[in-house]
């Protein structure tokens, strides 16, 4: 039987930290793994106390409750870990981030999010995902094991990709390269944030111009989809029509295979984006969703889900309740809108994803539902729930073991697996902490 260390595989040792992720990637799963005597937070089927779960070849093969027996194939030599009542959760999913595309926010050279041009659906996040980004191991240390990565900038910034947080190459780490094109839906009001100085003469005229500016931008987006559809139809009948890489990038969305991610925060913006997309027969997902509660009727009617850009946001207006953003998930739940919760849009702090959900939980959503909002619901909205989002037989063994609930700050994550491979939970930051604790140890020893 293969020896397995049921705690951290890697003791903290003198792995030098540098401006790269130097933590080794996980080895492939060689033997079946059994996690027994655990609290299994399946998300899809409730919480199983004293449960056991086993996985092989990166896939969950069996789950049983207390007293149940796992049916492993004859001759299997599994690694068995007694978790002694610890908790197992499906990997958390950050549904809207630039993780892997950015290394340092203000250093332009490390930013791979914004392709030149207003319409660049051909830009695909998985292509530029840096497997050695130092931010990735930082996120996964808090249980974030899957991320939907979004290019940004322009009306059609590109296509989002769903990535998992361990692997040697982009290919290893890609769950779904084309999760859907992104459309930054133009806002009509133009909010005028931060605008100063004298008001334009004849304010109403200026207003109309602004409105028509948004309308033009919206029309342009519509034309892009019309042109892509025409190109696609023409090429079907006449293969000599040359390739248009931009149009081609929109084909899966036109065929309904992937959703269109509509970036929209304001009420009017959300409404017009949803009406446009569903009117065109596209599958729509609203991303941002600050005013989603104000369009709940439309969102439920059209069955359009929402990716909320975090819960830790300021209220929209001076008169808004101080906890408006904190209670938004609960209000969407109440209204029957499908949604998932993001970790804000700061790639470096995807690790705070569980805390956004925790705040939503405390402000009316409840823990179960909040956990679902960063696991299964995110997987469904991103179209990867066949493989991710819950502890279910047949899904990827992308999960983590912790001594408590990930919403609790005191909780320590002890083990994590990505497609069955146990990952190293150290990162640049843990190594720097170890390095400098050593400095003070030396100072004290003097």
């Amino acid at each position: 039987m293969h020896a397995f260390v049921p705690t951290l595989l890697f003791v903290l040792c003198a792995v030098p930290a540098a401006a790269q992720d130097l933590v080794p990637k996980a080895a492939p799963q060689r033997a079946p793994v059994v996690l027994r005597n655990a609290v299994l937070h399946t998300v899809s089927d409730g919480v199983i106390l004293g449960g056991s779960l086993w996985f092989d070849d990166g896939v969950i093969r069996g789950i049983v409750g207390e007293g149940g027996t796992l049916k492993l194939p004859n001759g299997a030599e599994p690694v068995v870990v007694d978790l002694q009542g610890k908790h197992v959760f499906p990997g958390l999913i950050s549904p809207h981030t630039t993780l892997g595309l950015v290394e340092i926010g203000m250093v332009r050279q490390t930013n791979d999010v914004d392709e030149v041009g207003d319409t660049t659906p051909e830009a695909t996040a998985a292509v530029a995902w840096n497997p050695d980004s130092a931010a990735i191991p930082v996120a996964r240390r808090n249980g974030v094991l899957v991320a939907a990565v979004f290019p940004s900038g322009g009306s059609l910034p590109g296509r989002a990709s769903v990535m998992k947080v361990d692997g040697w190459t982009n290919a290893d780490m890609t769950v779904r390269a084309d999760a859907g094109p992104i459309v930054a839906w133009p806002a009509q009001s133009g909010e005028r944030r931060g605008r100063r100085g004298p008001r334009p003469e004849g304010g109403d005229g200026a207003e109309e111009n602004e409105g028509s500016g948004a309308k033009k931008a919206r029309d342009r987006i519509d034309e892009v989809f019309t042109a892509a559809r025409a190109w696609f139809d023409a090429r079907k009948t006449d293969p000599s029509v040359p390739l248009d890489i931009r149009h081609e990038a929109l084909v899966p969305a036109l065929r309904g295979e992937v959703p269109v991610f509509l970036l929209a925060d304001e009420q009017e913006q959300i409404e017009s984006a949803v009406l446009w997309a569903t009117g065109r027969g596209l599958r729509a997902v609203v991303v941002g969703g600050r005013d989603a509660a104000l369009c709940a009727g439309l969102l439920t009617d059209r069955r359009v889900p929402v990716i909320l850009d975090g819960v830790h946001r300021l209220p929209r207006r001076d008169d808004s309740p101080y906890d408006e953003a904190f209670t938004l998930p609960a209000r969407l739940q109440e209204a029957g809108v499908r949604f998932c919760i993001g970790g804000g849009t700061d790639f470096a702090n995807d690790r705070n994803l569980p805390y956004h959900a925790a705040t939503a939980a405390a402000f009316g959503l409840g823990r179960q539902r909040a956990l679902q909002a960063i696991t299964l619901d995110a997987a469904k909205i991103l179209g990867v729930d066949d493989r991710l989002g819950s502890l279910s037989v047949g899904k990827d063994a992308t999960l983590f073991v912790a001594d408590g609930h990930p919403f609790d700050l005191k909780t320590k994550i002890e083990m994590a697996f990505v497609s069955g491979r146990q990952i190293d939970l150290r990162n640049k930051q843990t190594e720097l902490a170890a390095k400098y604790r050593e400095r003070y140890r030396q100072l004290r020893a003097k």
Binding site: I104, R192, R193, D204, Q267, D318, N349, F363, L409
Partner: protein, 1013 residues
């Protein structure tokens, strides 16, 4: 000193010897002698005479209520009312910029005290006419542009000629100031305040220097270089300061600046003074109030209405009550047409203010005697009194009825006809009896004349009237229509004759006929007027009841009282070394904590105290945020220079920022308001308590808290992340260090010079040149003396280490390192040289210098003996500092009670206020937060927050406020819709106070001063 000498410049009148060119041909002699007879004469706001005569001669009033003198030209004013000419104390006037290249100008182009309104165009012709039409005869012209703009001048609204220029009533009235900013230094409000404050000090200093220099003697050592700017500042030291305030908070700031400088202040208001009424009234300064009211907010669409805040709606509704409220609060008010987009609306706005309760007597005073007194010209004008300027307004009816016709305005004895008699007899319905030139001469057309409007019918078809010219009692026009021959043109000229309308109809064929029309029998005279009145019926005026402070949804009508209360049964986190206490009790009275500990140790709860059962809940000290930019008006960073130690955040506290309330809802009770980090040496910081709802912004300051100052190291002062080439020193960390070293050397020399001067014997001191007070070096000298704490923005270990070394050299202790994300690398140096380190829990990777930031930073520094706090630097994070502290438990394993101290005790120590707050300890301020759960967990909601024992946030009150907001919004949106006025103004930035008036003087300086630099 020439202009200075002309301070009380007498008015030249026509009686003086002519100074113009010799007459061509015979002299024209105008006796300039009039008697206005039979009028009701409103001598002053309190006195009026019936059927009195007013005699004018040579531009002056020579008699009131006397018999008409023989020789005077009589003007029949029977049935009319004569008022004193109105005075507008603030009319902006363009004045050319000084030559910026000249040697003796002020180094900052915003300081131009040498200028006078007389150097400019005074009142342009169009504006003169417009003001006279409203009844104004005398105005103060104010130069535009800059912070110290120059001096104002009072002029008559007469029509100047080449031989008789505009009459100056008073040459030099006041020094006019504002807090205008520019692209450069100063680019923030606090920077503008620093410039103004230093300029006023410089004026006083230059004057003292002058006194120390013996006449004709040699210049003593240290004598200032001659400067026309400084000389002008010195000359104008005795003048009152007039301050152009963009909003009510700026007004309060001006009061402070004037008080510090010992100057007399007059506020030129924004019209929003009612929002800080009590504080403004307490300042006891005169207010020149504009009558521009904001337009109704845009509620045309649901989403537009949603964007409008209750504060905007309230500001809009209440603006017309401003004067009433100021007067009731005992403020000395004058009115001005300043800030009006269209001065034509002025009388309408006056009527609105009167509808809100201003009496007409008061209204007249605000337009005559009050401004005249403010301008020091009460002996010249403002009442109809013998000897004063012949400035009169002749009105058909009541001046304060906006429809009443102003017939004439007399300016210095010269008559300016404004409007003719209301009904000269031409208005009404007429039927044409003779002279009709139509196709069918038997048809008798009907005409209706109302002012410039002429309508008519002949034989069932409409007549078209064009080119109508109406003079008082006559009318000419062209008429056409089906009833008339289309080949020919018909001109009418009509006037009243007896009861009939008579005149001529001329035809283009050369013929003409005499016309006569008789008044129609059904002409109900005045019917049209009645109808007009109906159209103009205003909505009921807004109430003048108490308003919440701050205005808006979450303000208090009355500040919650300091009650006596006991919180029992909760888990206590005292943060004073006692760990965590179960079943605790906290007793507070008169704003102080009387007891905090185990319930068992408290004994019987005091009689009369409110008992708050908090079983299952948690109580902590109020959270303290050691790095906040909440509530700083118009610019968190004075970025115009690399060293701005002279600017002070305490000058620009914005008590209206709704983020204060939101932070209270996160248990926060005190913050360190910091200047931004664009400068190696930034501005002075301000420790405040979240006393939401206090009357005056200064009441938020934490009395007795040690002074602080922002320093910044690394990429920000280097401007490394800005676009484009860096034009400003420093560009490297080496330059930052050199700059700090240099300024501390300068500050040291400064304090030594001061000390030397102080040591002089009084006689010697009188002869010596006093050192110039330098606000920048003064602040740095305080750092050297240990009386001002450095709060230093820093990231990398090398720069942290550098400042530690410099501090050791200078023999000072640093207050805090802020951010200090590599503090974990040099924690020993921080522990030895700073009071503490104030960090983020887990931010990193947003720029290069934070690439090595780690979330264990706080824990490692804490382990190494550093006093660590976690701060927000964000209005959003500030509401969740309790869980930010919890991250010190997660990353690095700090004990929970120690982690909570990261946002309570430790920031209090860092800010030097731990003797007053930061722990639940008997004798300290009752700054307390009540939580539903373990405060370090996301399950916790803040349920109540007390500051000084006042319950400033609670879930219950918050619920009530939400209901009130909904109801008030509904009422006011309805009112905005009903107002029917098309809105034109909208301020997209809801963070801005609604209706921050535009600086009356911005245009000029942006246009001209900037070009030179």
């Amino acid at each position: 000193m020439s202009r200075f000498a002309a301070f009380v410049f007498a008015v030249a009148t026509a009686a003086l010897a002519a100074q113009g060119p010799p007459a061509e041909g015979p002299r024209a002699v105008d006796p300039g002698w009039f008697v206005l007879t039979g009028a009701r004469v409103v001598v002053d706001p309190a006195t009026s005479l019936e059927r009195a005569n007013v005699v004018l001669r040579d531009g002056r009033i020579v008699a009131v209520d006397a018999a008409p003198p023989v020789g005077a030209t009589a003007v029949d004013c029977s049935g009319l009312t004569i008022y004193p000419g109105l005075v507008d104390p603030f009319v902006a006037t363009d004045v050319p910029a000084l030559d910026a290249a000249a040697d003796d100008q002020h180094w900052n182009p915003m300081v131009q005290p040498q200028r006078s309104a007389r150097d400019g165009a005074l009142v342009p012709a169009a504006e003169r006419t417009a003001l006279r039409r409203l009844g104004f005869t005398t105005v103060a012209c104010v130069p535009t542009g800059g912070i110290v703009k120059g001096t104002s001048t009072v002029v008559q609204l007469d029509e100047p000629t080449p031989t008789a220029p505009t009459t100056i009533v008073r040459d030099v009235v006041a020094l006019v100031t504002s807090l205008q900013t520019r692209d450069g230094y100063p680019n923030s409000e606090m920077g503008a305040i620093a410039v103004l404050r230093q300029a006023l000090l410089d004026g006083a200093w230059y004057r003292r220097c002058g006194a120390a220099i013996p006449a004709g003697g040699a210049l003593p050592a240290g004598a200032p270089r001659p400067s026309s700017a400084f000389a002008a500042l010195a000359e104008r030291t005795d003048l009152p300061l007039w301050f152009d305030a963009r909003d009510e908070l700026q007004a309060l700031r001006a009061v402070r600046i004037a008080n510090e400088a010992g100057r007399t202040l007059v506020l030129v208001g924004s019209g929003m003074e009612f929002r800080r009424l009590a504080a403004i009234a307490a300042a006891k300064v005169p207010v020149v109030a504009p009558l521009q009211f904001p337009d109704a907010p845009d509620v045309a669409s649901a989403s537009a209405a949603e964007r409008v805040s209750l504060r905007q709606l309230q500001s809009w509704e209440q603006a017309p009550t401003n004067t009433k409220r100021l007067l009731d609060a005992g403020v000395d008010v004058s009115w001005t047409t300043a800030r009006m987009r269209d001065k034509k609306d002025f009388r309408e706005r006056v009527a609105e203010a009167i509808a809100c309760g201003v009496s007409t007597q008061q209204a007249l005073a605000l337009l005559t005697t009050k401004p005249a007194a403010l301008l020091g010209i009460a002996d010249q004008t403002g009442t109809i009194t013998r000897g004063k300027l012949a400035n009169l307004v002749v009105v058909e009816g009541d001046l304060f009825d906006p429809k009443a016709r102003i017939r004439d305005v007399w300016v210095g004895g010269v008559r300016h006809p404004i409007q003719g008699a209301k009904d000269s007899g031409v208005d009404g319905s007429w039927s044409w009896t003779t002279g009709w030139p139509g196709k069918d001469p038997k048809v008798a057309p009907a005409l209706t004349i109302d002012g410039d409007s002429v309508k008519g019918k002949a034989g069932g078809s409409d007549l078209k009237f064009a080119d109508v010219v109406r003079e008082a009692d006559r009318l000419s026009c062209r008429v056409a229509g089906d009833a008339l021959d289309a080949e020919r043109v018909f001109w009418l000229r009509l006037h009243q004759d007896g009861g009939a309308l008579v005149g001529t109809c001329a035809v283009s064929d050369g013929t003409s006929s005499a016309v006569r029309a008789e008044r129609s029998s059904d002409d109900a005279k005045g019917k049209a007027d009645e109808k007009k009145g109906g159209d103009d019926a205003r909505p009921a005026p807004p109430g003048v009841g108490p308003l919440p402070t701050p205005l808006g949804g979450y303000g208090f009508l009355e500040l919650p009282a300091q009650t006596e209360f006991v919180i029992v049964g909760a888990t206590l986190w005292p943060c004073d070394g006692r760990g965590v206490l179960r079943d605790g009790a906290v007793h507070a009275r008169d704003g102080r904590i009387v007891f905090a500990g185990s319930r068992a140790d408290m004994g019987e709860p005091p009689i009369g105290a409110q008992i708050i059962d908090a079983a299952g809940k948690h109580v902590t000290p109020g959270i303290i945020d050691c790095h906040s930019h909440t509530g700083i008006s118009r610019g968190v960073n004075e970025g115009g220079e690399a060293v701005t130690a002279e600017v002070r955040v305490e000058d620009v506290i914005d008590p209206d920022d709704v983020n204060w309330y939101r932070e209270l809802a996160g248990g926060v009770t005190a913050v360190n308001q910091l200047h931004g980090s664009a400068n190696a040496i930034g501005g002075q910081s301000c420790t405040v308590k979240l006393r939401w709802g206090v009357r005056h912004p200064d009441e938020m300051r934490f009395a007795g808290a040690p002074a602080g100052i922002k320093f910044a190291l690394g990429e920000n002062p280097r401007q490394a992340n800005d676009r484009g080439p860096n034009r400003r020193y420093p560009n490297t960390r080496m330059g930052v260090e050199a700059l700090l070293r240099d300024r501390f050397a300068a500050a040291d020399a400064y304090r030594q010079a001061l000390a030397t001067y102080e040591k002089l014997a009084p006689a010697e001191r009188a002869k010596a040149i006093p050192p110039r007070r330098d606000l920048e070096l003064e602040a740095l000298a305080q750092v050297l003396d240990g009386s001002r704490r450095i709060h230093c923005h820093s990231y990398r270990q090398d720069e942290i280490f550098m400042l530690c070394g410099l501090a050791r050299e200078l023999g000072i202790k640093i207050g805090t390192f802020q951010h200090v994300l590599e503090g974990y690398k040099v924690a020993d140096a921080i522990a030895a040289n700073a009071v503490g380190a104030s960090s983020f829990s887990d931010w990193w990777a947003y720029k290069f210098e934070v690439w090595d930031a780690i979330p264990d930073n706080g824990a490692i520094m804490h382990e190494a003996g550093v006093c660590v706090s976690f701060n927000s630097d964000s209005n959003e994070h500030a509401r969740r500092l309790n869980t930010e502290a919890g991250k010190a438990v997660k990353y690095g394993g700090v004990a929970p009670w120690d982690a909570l101290c990261f946002v309570t005790k430790n920031p209090a120590i860092q800010l030097g206020i731990f003797d007053r707050t930061g722990s639940l300890t008997a004798g300290k301020d009752a700054d307390i937060a009540l939580w539903s759960d373990d405060p370090l967990s996301y399950a916790a909601r803040c349920e109540a927050t007390w500051v000084d024992g006042r319950l400033l946030f609670s879930l219950g009150t918050d619920r009530t406020m939400r209901e009130t907001i909904a109801a008030e919004r509904q009422r006011l949106v309805g009112r905005a819709v009903a107002s029917g006025k098309k809105r034109t103004a909208r301020d997209g930035d809801t963070k801005d106070a609604y209706w921050a008036a535009e600086d009356l003087t911005t245009d000029y300086c942006c246009r001209d001063c900037e070009g030179g630099r």
